[in-house]
Symmetry: C2
Subunit: 287 residues, 2 copies
């Protein structure tokens, strides 16, 4: 039986009752427009011991820049609830913006170094919005475990850092990217793509696969790995924000040689849509 709650206090009361009854609460924060990737996160918190699952649906204005897609971001709550019911989610938390940020709201949570480069450079206030809203979701829910998709790799590492730094008693999982049959990483933003762009968008996957294969075969030169990933993306996309190797934990820029624990990250634009994807070199098998 799916419960749908809207107010932060209503959620807190709901999960407090669950914990008092001995349940272990897991949280899956989302912006809705749910797909199989989100549902894999529901399974992930269960696998990590959650006996009840809260899934939040909130298109967070704080994490969108003034020229970004906040107003056109897909909102599909009836479909989302259907999918949650089918996957046995216990509570959907769908607050309104005014409930999350009432007049007088003035508090922010910031993770510093991890959020400077990559998405942080392209979207200056993005991570501050993400960490603030996720801190609120953690506080209102009181989960023992929360799951995030690794497609938003820098987000996952940032939230993991936030939870550790602030002594939040929650395990932050980063879960494998789910892909369409042709390799495109699942994303709510894929709905924006025109058919022609949808076809070309697989170039990111192809590029990551090429770099991963080279890494597996022993290639460690960063310039060469980036070149392998970049070539196809450059041809298929309108513009590239970044194609780069970074430290898997700290996202630091590498030297000339890629370390064993490196991640290859891509952000590129096609037909007005910005897509991101990544692969942990030597770990994610993309073939």
């Amino acid at each position: 039986m799916l419960a749908v709650v809207h107010a932060p206090r209503e959620l807190a009361a709901t999960t407090e009752a669950l914990r008092a009854g001995g349940q272990r609460v897991g949280l899956v924060p989302t912006m809705g427009a749910l797909h199989a990737g989100h549902m894999s996160l529901v399974q992930a918190v269960r696998d990590a011991g959650a006996t009840r699952v809260v899934l939040s649906v909130f298109v967070n204005p704080l994490q969108f820049g003034p020229k970004e897609d906040f107003s056109k971001y897909p909102r599909t709550l009836p479909d989302d609830l259907e999918l949650c019911r089918a996957h046995g989610v216990d509570v959907v938390y769908a607050p309104a913006a005014e409930q999350m940020y009432p007049p007088g709201f003035q508090t922010h949570v910031e993770v510093e170094q991890l959020t400077q480069a990559l998405e942080g450079a392209a979207r200056p206030t993005h991570f501050r919005g993400v960490t603030t809203v996720v801190a609120k979701l953690f506080n209102a829910t009181g989960p023992c475990v929360a799951a995030f998709g690794r497609k938003d790799y820098q987000q996952w590492r940032t939230l993991e850092r936030m939870a550790a730094d602030l002594d939040m008693p929650v395990q932050v999982l980063g879960c494998p990217i789910l892909r369409e049959p042709d390799g495109l990483a699942m994303s709510s933003r894929n709905r924006y793509l025109q058919p022609e762009h949808r076809t070309r968008a697989t170039a990111i996957y192809a590029g990551l696969r090429g770099a991963s294969a080279a890494f597996a075969a022993g290639e460690r030169r960063v310039a060469r790995l980036e070149e392998l990933a970049r070539a196809g993306v450059a041809a298929a996309f309108d513009s590239i924000d970044y194609v780069t190797v970074a430290g898997a934990q700290d996202l630091a820029a590498p030297g000339e040689q890629a370390a064993e624990h490196s991640v290859m990250l891509v952000a590129a634009r096609i037909g007005g849509t910005r897509l991101i994807d990544n692969a942990i070199l030597g770990q994610d098998c993309l073939v």
Copy 2:
């Protein structure tokens, strides 16, 4: 039986066991050098329903400026533990700085408007340090109620705001200032005062009492109320940081007339020691 714990995870495990056993945990965050004011906070969380009390003792480097008194701040843990035992505190949480801020730490919590003026103007990074450490203490403890002294008035209002904005499931109490027999607000920093300065320090109390009495008698002109509080402080202290009327909730600067819910705040320096004090006009009876 007093338990003393040092690691964040040890505290989290301790309080989780208490909550699982049906206890309601209250928190009293302190920097140690405990006095009767702190002990009144222990009673306050009990009065608010806490059945177990955690008192934290942590001189938080993050909230001291580079030229402030971090290194000389009084550290009296054995005495503090004695006092806690005598008052039935259940857990003392006394982490080391390296446990609170291990290498790689990079997350901060900030409350914006409320922290700009007054203490925030005099001590630019102070409140960011306070909100960050108290967020950590709240997260590791999981209290249903936490108590702060109103001597640090702006701190209380800032933490109350932080908890509300971030949906922290904790009641934040602001408790009445305890005073020495001659009216000086109790403070760990009073230990710094030479006898002569200790005597002169009561001028703040006298000034607040004068302004409060005038307010009670109908005086509403802000300039006159500030003048009444300022005169004696100016004569007794080496310098004044501020003597000012502000909104009791938002700490906004008043117009020419003081509203019914106003607070008179004072910060001044004497013999190298900086003291603060305040009175809620029309509420705190100082006579």
